[in-house]
């Protein structure tokens, strides 16, 4: 392979299959994440997005095939907010700093750590809530605490599971801009999302999965009616707006008509 033409692969999956108690969640997936990539993985609920991320990270073993990670690669993971134990007794600052576990044997926070944490929290607009318990935050802030924790670890590859689920438009823009900035600074990013228009369409590369990879490429090539029908099993229309694909659900007008008919009774 020509190392100059193709950036170094950070993680490569070869014919990866993952299963839970015999039921297959990810089927025969081959893909590579290269240095400088910014990849969005989309697919319906239960299509194996989280499972694929966990296999990439190595937190679940493949049933067959394999995942190859670059030797010494530092990764950080921002889990789906639903999977966080919000009742666990930790503050925002404690959450961010807990990732640094290799220093001395006395667990006191050092000045260096405090400064670094402060910078990260500042960047994510969390300085004012640093001492709060993680449950006492807005949805957007909760989302960002875990991004802050991941950044504190100074990863080369940042993996995020639905970083914009359940947040408002403004927070979504903020998260997206933050990720774009980080990507500009050289961070490689993989994320999953349900948000085709608000997030996936803005990324340089989108992978559609439904257990298997349906399509992998630039949004203009991937977000097409044919691919989306195969991925979601539902008809969708795609408009091109300002050079970007905009996905519309077909049948939405039909529902609207039904509901407005109801009100005329």
């Amino acid at each position: 392979m020509n190392a100059l033409a193709v950036p170094q692969a950070l993680v490569e999956c070869h014919e990866l299959t993952c299963a839970y108690d015999g039921s297959v969640a990810v089927d025969d997936v081959s893909m590579a994440v290269r240095r400088g990539d910014f990849v969005g993985i989309v697919g319906p609920s239960g299509s194996g997005k989280t499972t694929l991320l966990k296999a990439v990270l190595g937190s679940i073993p493949p049933a067959s095939g394999h995942v190859h990670r670059l030797q010494g690669l530092t990764m950080a993971y921002v889990p789906q907010v639903e999977s966080v134990d919000w009742n666990f007794p930790v503050t925002v600052l404690e959450t961010v700093i807990m990732t640094r576990s290799r220093n001395g044997w006395w667990p006191r926070t050092t000045k260096d750590e405090r400064d670094h944490a402060e910078r990260v929290l500042h960047r994510l607009g969390l300085v004012d809530v640093a001492e709060r318990h993680i449950r006492e935050l807005s949805g957007g802030q909760q989302q960002r605490v875990f991004i802050a924790r991941a950044l504190f670890h100074r990863p080369e590859l940042l993996v995020l599971d639905e970083p914009t689920s359940g947040v408002d438009v403004r927070t979504r823009h903020e998260v997206l801009h933050l990720l774009a900035d980080l990507h500009d600074e050289g961070l490689s990013i993989v994320l999953t999302t349900h948000d085709l228009n608000g997030l996936a369409a803005h990324l340089p590369r989108v992978v559609c999965i439904n257990k298997r990879i349906i399509a992998d490429g630039a949004p203009r090539d991937v977000l097409t009616p044919v691919v989306l029908e195969k991925t979601y099993g539902a008809e969708m229309e795609v408009l091109i707006h300002g050079g970007m694909p905009v996905v519309l659900e077909s049948g939405a007008d039909h529902v609207a008509r039904r509901l407005s008919n109801l009100t005329t009774f």
Partner: protein, 281 residues
């Protein structure tokens, strides 16, 4: 009046028991934080039953309690931890069955070969009279060891307890950290069982930790509040049991439970919300 209060301190058996109960309370309080936050109270319960089997077996075979039951405790603790961690369907049931069977074997062995009903009662409910200097040494050594380990591994313990998947990805050897927790838990049960008893030890693992959860939202603070509550329960409970002529371990648990109720009432909704997610006994 004052003289009556100090009367028990004149007996060395009481002083030994008091020292062990206080240290046992602190130790169970400390490990209870992990037990409660990880929802593994059934593991504490199962482990104490498994250790009972080991204790009975070593008594019958005639090897030292700390060696026989100790090896048994650490091995079964690490195995139980691994089974629970792999989230195999039915793991809870399997752990329950195996540890209860170990308990039953212990009972049968004591019935068949043990000296008397009295010794069985002592292991089930704990006994202050049976406390020997070796117990004080054992519980002190384990307390110091566990204290040092918790400090040295503080962040890894916190990370692996809060978020094992992410901790693993971030480079924490979660399997090792979990084995460490199970080992500390096994040793704690081993050295406190003779005074607290098999049946009540899981309560001492849960109650002070649950009470401390109501008092704070910080993991670091729970790690000292819970042992303090445990130690106070041990100390007050032992004294009360002398004056009330009640079972020492039952009185210790009652004192801890009264503490829980008082804090539950005093912290109101705030505390209740916090403790709502603590896994019960």
């Amino acid at each position: 009046m004052i003289a009556t209060l100090f009367e028990p301190f004149g007996y060395s058996f009481f002083n030994n028991g008091l020292a062990v109960a206080t240290l046992a309370g602190a130790l169970c309080g400390l490990l209870g934080v992990f037990v409660v936050l990880r929802g593994m109270s059934y593991i504490g319960h199962g482990l104490s039953h498994a250790v009972f089997g080991g204790a009975a077996a070593s008594a019958v075979v005639g090897i030292n309690y700390f060696i026989g039951a100790g090896i048994w405790a650490v091995v079964s603790g690490v195995l139980i931890g691994r089974i629970a961690r792999r989230r195999i369907i039915g793991a809870d049931a399997a752990i329950g069955v195996v540890t209860t069977a170990s308990f039953a074997i212990g009972l049968a062995l004591l019935n068949r070969y043990g000296q008397a009903k009295k010794s069985i009662e002592a292991v089930l409910f704990g006994s202050v009279l049976g406390v020997q200097p070796a117990d004080i040494w054992a519980v002190s050594i384990v307390a110091v060891l566990v204290g040092l380990l918790v400090i040295a591994f503080y962040r890894r313990l916190l990370f692996a307890t809060f978020d094992p998947d992410v901790a693993q990805v971030t480079g924490v050897k979660v399997a090792w950290v979990e084995a460490l927790v199970m080992m500390m838990l096994s040793l704690t049960i081993l050295v406190t069982m003779r005074v607290i008893g098999t049946l009540l030890i899981s309560a001492l693992l849960v109650i002070p930790a649950a009470t401390s959860r109501m008092l704070t939202n910080s993991f670091a603070r729970m790690l000292w509040i819970s042992p303090v509550l445990g130690a106070v329960s041990g100390f007050v409970g032992m004294n009360a049991s002398y004056h009330l002529d009640t079972s020492a371990s039952a009185t210790v648990i009652l004192v801890a439970a009264i503490g829980f109720v008082v804090v539950y009432a005093a912290t109101g909704l705030r505390g209740r919300v916090r403790v709502a997610h603590v896994h019960h006994i």
